[in-house]
Symmetry: C2
Subunit: 133 residues, 2 copies
DNA sequence: TATTTACCTACCATGTCAATCGGTTTTTGA
DNA sequence: TCAAAAACCGATTGACATGGTAGGTAAATA
């Protein structure tokens, strides 16, 4: 599996926030209920989005979350990269991991590189606005 | 990660067999040494390729493996599907798994379907012959 | 008949995923 | 001012996949 629930849930939260994007704050409890996702699990996913400056989180009574940009300004690729950590289809391309010894003579590496480009381009082509009804 | 070592090793074995494809049988011990892969681990991967009629396995002294077709006639997609089981990028598309309740109203499903098509088309476009030097 | 090879089954160690539990801090509004 | 609501934080857990090892059996040939 390529995309885990972390990334998929993050996308659904962003879409939900976009569909209730009237400037007010949206409590995560509401989103969790609407999307039928455990609130506690969502709380583990959201900090990545706040840290990445995608959304703003306001603590305290009456608080909640709010988009920082218009829905058109969020690329799916950015959201997935923040929450999934890495979209590389094979370990060979995972920056940070030990580079493969055989890379120089590897017959398949060029194909993986090409696939990586294809997938990233694919997700670059979608914005949150595209995913809204 | 999308493609595990199972699929990547299977591809490397197929390429190795193609590069030593003179009609004779190739012992898996040789391939394991050349590719620097544990023989025992390879033995776990190969039955799927035999069962899928991609290669022929001959037991006994002097035995080994041999391609059933020309390298041009093997699509990468076929090899990966046999060894990885499923190339679906998200659980929602995994045939056999319980279908998602929200699929009718899901905002993201069309994107996953499109991605799945893109990836499959990508791997359809490569053959073993393309990957040989 | 001994050797070589494919073939088969069980096991294990590690890591990730998905989720839960139990809290603490911040802020507001009653 | 104080209690409620919300974001924030960390430890733990069960299930599962991955990558690999170990120890065989069956078949075929030199």
């Amino acid at each position: 599996m390529m995309i885990s629930t972390r990334g998929r849930y993050a996308l659904r939260v962003m879409i939900d926030l976009a569909e209730h994007n009237d400037g007010s704050l949206v409590a995560m409890r509401e989103v969790a209920e609407r999307q039928n996702i455990s609130l506690k699990y969502l709380e583990k996913i959201l900090p990545a989005l706040v840290k990445g400056n995608l959304i703003e989180g306001v603590s305290g009574k009456g608080g909640g979350y709010r988009l920082n940009r218009t829905p058109q300004a969020y690329r799916v690729s950015e959201i997935l990269r923040l929450t999934e950590g890495n979209l590389a289809p094979v370990a060979c391309l995972d920056c940070g991991a030990a580079p493969c010894q055989r890379s120089a003579e590897c017959r398949t590496l060029p194909m993986w590189v090409e696939l990586n480009k294809t997938v990233n381009a694919f997700f670059d082509g979608y914005t949150i606005a595209d995913l809204m009804k």
